[in-house]
Symmetry: C2
Subunit: 226 residues, 2 copies
């Protein structure tokens, strides 16, 4: 066999194998599209949610089933939201306008008991509404900062473990969860999560009580500007 | 050359080529990570936004620059949001709690003038607030449906051309845009967009005025249930 023939055969073989690998990949994707990882976590939940027992999320190892009259072991938008919050293993940063929901407050306190660092940013005016959980959370020793500007800190997002964003229209209130039409989007897509992490840190720094009474550079007399 | 030798050469050549293709792909991704498409559109904007002229977005071909005293040609969170709305070429579905912003109303009316089908779902109570644009939008002939339940239709999302989701904490009001701390997330990721499309259609159907006075199956006397 001549060198030219050998090169032809090698070339054809290589092309055939490459095409086969590509074709097999395509076929696999078509046959089992959901079994292939479709990138980072992406979920959407809508509210109002069904009212269901959430006890199993707080005491998963309890030997006794919860005796409450609510439906048990139902997967609702709210149990999935609670599950994401309770999944935190290294940090929880929460930036929420109104916080009155007792189950979500219990989840935050449970994470604190587990020693997970928690930072909460909220709107000063809305810490005063009936049923606000911010007082109880502060008394438990969790670090809370309030935006006390003349306008609203209207965000409703959380970042779990520095990588999972939970955001949407839903305030952490009972009315929002059980009555209103609301949405929550959960994602680990870095291009969406990182801007929220940066904005949280910016708002956290801006609302540091130790800095609140320091004049900003813009407020200083011109002669003091370096 | 024997057949065995030929098969060996063909096999080795194929493996070498396949590995080379994979390795070149990996190298390309490492050297130019940002030049590779990173999947569907993903953007996040925060508010409050700088106040800037938006005239160029409405009249891009105007031979005269806008004489208003605001900063011109500035890329702000709001101009980017407006740009996304004005980019609609086939449809706009809007589901928003409060709608008073004049620029956003102008954008919706501009799309309507271009003949783009628009559907707006809003909260009945909030159509009555000072400055609500819903009346003007209805008078222009745009189809609006109101959720008149005892609780709030608190969503704030839009779907542009059935593929681009705009969602977040931001109501379409001047206070939200120029004063509050707010967020907007824009994505074309199908796993995130499709649930919002489905939920919009569900709420649109539920709030069809023609169906409002028909008893649902659950409301019918038991004997009438089929």
């Amino acid at each position: 066999m001549s060198v030219v023939q050998m090169v032809k055969i090698v070339g054809l073989g290589a092309v055939a194998l490459t095409l086969s690998v590509e074709w097999l990949g395509w076929l696999f994707c078509r046959l089992w599209p959901r079994k292939i990882s479709r990138g980072p976590l992406k979920e959407v939940f809508f509210f109002p949610t069904e009212v269901a027992c959430t006890e199993h999320l707080f005491t998963p190892n309890s030997p006794f089933p919860c005796p409450c009259p609510l439906p048990h072991n139902i997967n609702t938008s709210f149990t999935r939201l609670l599950g994401h919050i309770l999944s935190a293993s290294s940090s929880l940063d929460l930036c929420v306008f109104a916080f009155t929901n007792l189950d979500l407050s219990r989840a935050v306190l449970a994470l604190h008991t587990r020693g997970i660092p928690i930072r909460i940013l909220t709107d000063m005016d809305y810490t005063l509404i009936t049923g606000s959980q911010i007082g109880a959370i502060r008394r438990a020793g969790i670090c809370v900062r309030c935006d006390s500007g003349a306008v609203h800190m209207h965000h409703k997002f959380a970042v779990v473990d520095g990588r999972r964003l939970i955001t949407g229209s839903l305030n952490w209130t009972l009315t929002a969860i059980q009555s209103n039409k609301e949405n929550i989007l959960v994602t680990e897509e870095p291009d969406l999560v990182l801007p929220f992490i940066t904005e949280f840190q910016r708002l956290w720094d801006v609302n540091d009580p130790a800095r609140r009474h320091l004049p900003s550079i813009a407020e200083k007399p011109a002669s003091l500007v370096l």
